[in-house]
């Protein structure tokens, strides 16, 4: 058994250096994320502080308060942004492949709203002491049910999925979960209400050890699993029948991808609330520059997603400092115009549907 076919394809020209560029970019963004905020810290000292932490040296001249800002506030948040960004971008890339449709973003087709609905029910109705467990599970179930429902709805006669039905299903699901979440807000007690509101806009504020570890592990597992499915996903883009003729167990693949992506979205939504558009924008950017080959797309999307969500979070902290914007608002501000741009670009193709 050779593993070569799961590895990214070889690249030519400037694209060869893409890995190096993306990793460098990620490291720079991490440093910026540590430095920037309502209180700006000097770059060199922040860098030294990171070195101190990992190598036990004492080079940094930051005072105790500044060190606390870095390690108590910004570092957990940075980690969470990296993992959630990667997770969202990965799930977006795979969902688009699964629906064979570049517009099938978990946010737009309603999967995130479904997961959000599950999480909202858990926050309000289930005991708060168990919320670390109940919220992710409920979000996963909400996401799973929605994906299955939307997939069933959008499947057309010729084996493709209809964009029109996908988008309309998204509208229906968003309206439905909006109504239920509204009702939950109405009956919630003060503490649940506060949590619900903040979380509904998408925020990395709640970074704690549990959420960081959970999202990190999920991210890693999903990446490994998806990467082994990359050749099958490529074949799947040709069409379901074609993939079957290429020896792929299509029914099993679909079910696996739906369940695993629902887990990913569920975990992401339960950790940070609904952060839109990362899952739509990132795979698109990667496809536009590197092509749609999943062996490359998945890993690069994860990296790019991490960088983009970090940048959005830095923006959320800096734009209105000392006040802080929910990061979901920032990604929506970047993402919604991008979505409009995609629509304009594909207007000709879409208008025939």
């Amino acid at each position: 058994m050779s593993y070569a076919k799961y590895l990214p394809a070889s690249l030519h020209g400037w694209r060869r250096s893409i890995w190096l560029m993306m990793v460098m970019l990620l490291l720079v963004t991490v440093l910026l994320s540590i430095m920037l905020g309502p209180m700006t810290l000097p770059a060199k000292q922040s860098l030294l502080s990171i070195l101190d932490k990992f190598f036990g040296s004492e080079l940094s001249q930051l005072n105790a308060f500044q060190t606390a800002i870095i390690w108590e506030l910004r570092w957990p948040r940075t980690l969470l942004a990296i993992f959630i960004g990667a997770l969202l971008a990965l799930c977006g890339a795979v969902t688009q492949g699964l629906f064979r449709n570049p517009l099938a973003d978990p946010g737009i087709i309603g999967v995130s709203s479904g997961a959000g609905l599950g999480a909202a029910i858990a926050i309000v109705l289930l005991p708060a002491s168990l919320s670390y467990l109940t919220t992710p599970v409920a979000a996963f179930l909400g996401g799973l049910i929605t994906t299955l429902l939307v997939y069933r709805l959008a499947q057309s006669q010729n084996g493709g999925t209809s964009v029109l039905i996908l988008l309309l299903a998204g509208v229906a699901v968003a309206a439905f979960s909006g109504a239920i979440i509204g009702f939950m807000t109405y009956i919630a007690n003060d503490m649940a209400l506060r949590e619900l509101t903040l979380w509904g806009m998408g925020t990395l504020n709640g970074a704690n050890n549990t959420s960081i570890w959970l999202s990190a592990m999920t991210c890693l597992c999903l990446l490994l699993f998806y990467q082994t499915q990359a050749p099958a996903l490529n074949a799947f883009l040709l069409g379901e029948a074609e993939a079957r003729h290429l020896g792929i167990n299509v029914e099993k693949l679909k079910l696996q991808l739906i369940v695993v992506s629902a887990i990913g979205i569920g975990i992401a939504v339960s950790a940070t609330g609904i952060i839109g558009f990362i899952s739509l924008v990132v795979p698109h950017l990667v496809r536009m520059t590197m092509g749609p080959d999943h062996r490359l797309l998945l890993l690069l999307s994860a990296l790019t997603g991490a960088v983009l969500l970090l940048i959005a979070d830095i923006g959320a902290r800096v734009l209105l400092a000392p006040a802080e914007l929910p990061v979901g608002l920032v990604t929506a501000l970047i993402g919604a115009p991008f979505f409009a741009f995609l629509l304009i670009q594909q207007r000709k193709r879409l208008s025939t549907l």
């Binding site: 010729n158 792929i248 080959d293």
Partner: protein, 253 residues
């Protein structure tokens, strides 16, 4: 190598295909003919397993298709669909390389095979263009190259199913494509079942014709045996004139 026994396909209690017995041997090119709605595409879909038969068996190399291992079957049974919907910007050569999914080839071997089959199908000149920017005929030939790559590691003689391979090609390319398929039959032992529309193309290239009408296999045999003017009149509803060329092959006009 392919044997069909008592095949019956129903959909919603409506019989769409009835094939009591049919078979082909390696090296043979079969043209499936018949008017629209005769069940030609249904036949292809049933053989490749996309539709399941309500009754009957299909054997490939003596083994019922149900018992073939998924990946091994993929190496021996290739299907060229009539049209493929692909909305992602793959390059033509990347589409062909996807044909290697069930195979065990390393990257260099894949690149080599991609070039070989793209040259054979006259598509190598636009290997780096986006599939989505190609014309219908070009896409079909790229897909053919992909299917041929998929069959390139077959241990037994492979079976190739073609659903109207010439529909989007210009005249020269139609003949080029059928010549390629013919030579694969003669030199590599391929067995081919192809849906065709042009009766004279069928006469020229096919070893045998399967004539379908309203889901029934009403005639099979060599093209001159099956394609008689009165049969054409009965099935397609027009009276052709019969000519013979200097090689003694019949031409229906």
């Amino acid at each position: 190598m392919l044997t069909i026994e008592n095949l019956l396909v129903k959909q919603e209690h409506h019989q769409i295909l009835n094939l009591p017995a049919a078979s082909l041997v390696s090296g043979e090119l079969i043209a499936v003919l018949g008017p629209n709605g005769a069940g030609k595409s249904s036949l292809i879909k049933t053989i490749c397993g996309e539709w399941s038969a309500s009754q009957g068996q299909i054997y490939l190399h003596g083994k019922s298709l149900e018992y073939w291992h998924r990946q091994r079957l993929a190496k021996h049974l290739g299907v060229l669909p009539q049209a493929s919907q692909l909305s992602f910007p793959f390059k033509a050569q990347e589409v062909v390389a996807i044909g290697a999914t069930p195979l065990s080839l390393n990257i260099r071997e894949i690149n080599h095979a991609v070039q070989k089959w793209m040259q054979a199908t006259d598509t190598w000149q636009f290997a780096d263009r986006l599939y989505t920017s190609l014309s219908g005929g070009e896409r079909q030939r790229v897909q053919l190259a992909r299917v041929l790559l998929q069959l390139s590691q077959a241990e037994l003689a492979p079976l190739l199913l073609l659903d109207e391979p010439t529909s989007a090609q210009d005249l020269g390319q139609q003949h080029q494509l059928l010549n390629l398929v013919k030579s694969l039959c003669q030199e590599n032992g391929f067995a081919v079942i192809s849906i065709l529309h042009d009766l004279n193309q069928a006469s020229r290239y096919a070893d045998k014709v399967w004539l379908l009408h309203q889901g029934e296999l009403i005639a099979q045999g060599s093209p001159p045996q099956v394609l008689k003017p009165e049969t054409v009149m009965k099935i397609w509803g027009y009276q052709p004139e019969l000519f013979f060329n200097r090689h003694g092959q019949q031409i229906l006009v």
